[in-house]
């Protein structure tokens, strides 16, 4: 008699350990995932920063081109996203630094994680409102 266990090459469906899909998303988990995603986004943003520096170093024409690209509406959208990603990762870093020191591991961990989500969004809006006011003046 053959079964999936004894037939060569046959694979039996085995239970897998629970993974992301079985958990109801909770704020600490989502912010942990976002910390990693924003970290990778920041690398892309850093490439843009170095690109701008290289353009500035190359001379007036390259500087004007880079300024036009970064100042276009698409450029601005990307810069706003980068600003949010940067602030999110910085606030997340502070939260992790507190946790690394063994503090804030009680129920306050939920409010700390919410602070990253709400704080990054509001600080990004605030910063760009200030930038637009400065540019308008």
């Amino acid at each position: 008699m053959t079964s999936a266990d004894t037939t060569p090459g046959a694979r039996r469906e085995r239970p897998l350990s629970p993974h992301l899909s079985v958990y109801r998303p909770i704020v600490t988990m989502v912010m942990s995932i976002m910390h990693r995603i924003t970290g990778v986004m920041n690398v892309a943003g850093f490439v843009l920063v170095v690109g701008f520096l290289l353009a500035t170093a190359s001379g007036p024409e390259a500087y004007a081109t880079a300024s036009a690209i970064y100042g276009s509406w698409l450029g601005r959208v990307i810069l706003v996203l980068f600003t949010w990603s940067l602030i999110h990762h910085m606030l997340g870093g502070v939260r992790h630094a507190v946790w690394d020191m063994g503090r804030g591991l009680g129920d306050v961990r939920y409010s700390m994680s919410w602070a990253t989500a709400i704080g990054s969004a509001s600080l990004t809006v605030l910063l760009w409102v200030v930038i637009m006011i400065v540019e308008a003046v």
Binding site: R36, G39, N42, V43, V50, A97, L127
Partner: protein, 152 residues
Amino acid sequence: MRSPVDQKGHSLRPGHRTALKSIRYLGSAKDGTDHFIKQRMTALANFFLVIVLAFVAISVSGRSYDSAIGLLGQPLVAVPLALALISVSVHLKLGLQVVIEDYVPNEGLRLVLLLLNTFFAFAIGAAGLYAVLQIMFTGAVVDSPAAAVPGG
């Protein structure tokens, strides 16, 4: 007969191959808490440098070329900028390294990507530092009286 010893003279007898003091805190990767500590040291440095440079970025926006060169070339701007380029490059290298280690199960591909990650971090950091130095020297030329009077 003497029992075998390692380079530091510690006994290599079975059950006592390496002195505890030689391996303590190092773990299986042999670099101990090096990654953990560097990731957090550069995080702290980045935190302050990025806040300072955010003001510079806002101030540079919309400037003329000469004015931008003049601002970015100042030592008080260029030096923090150079420090940030180094610190951010180290931080992103360590961060992307963990992402690759977590999500790339194939060992060969993982090794290649880890190598490329290290190359990328050095390349982007070097490119940024080159640009900052170039801007500093250009700024010095733009600011000098000799440049204002051609041939003078």
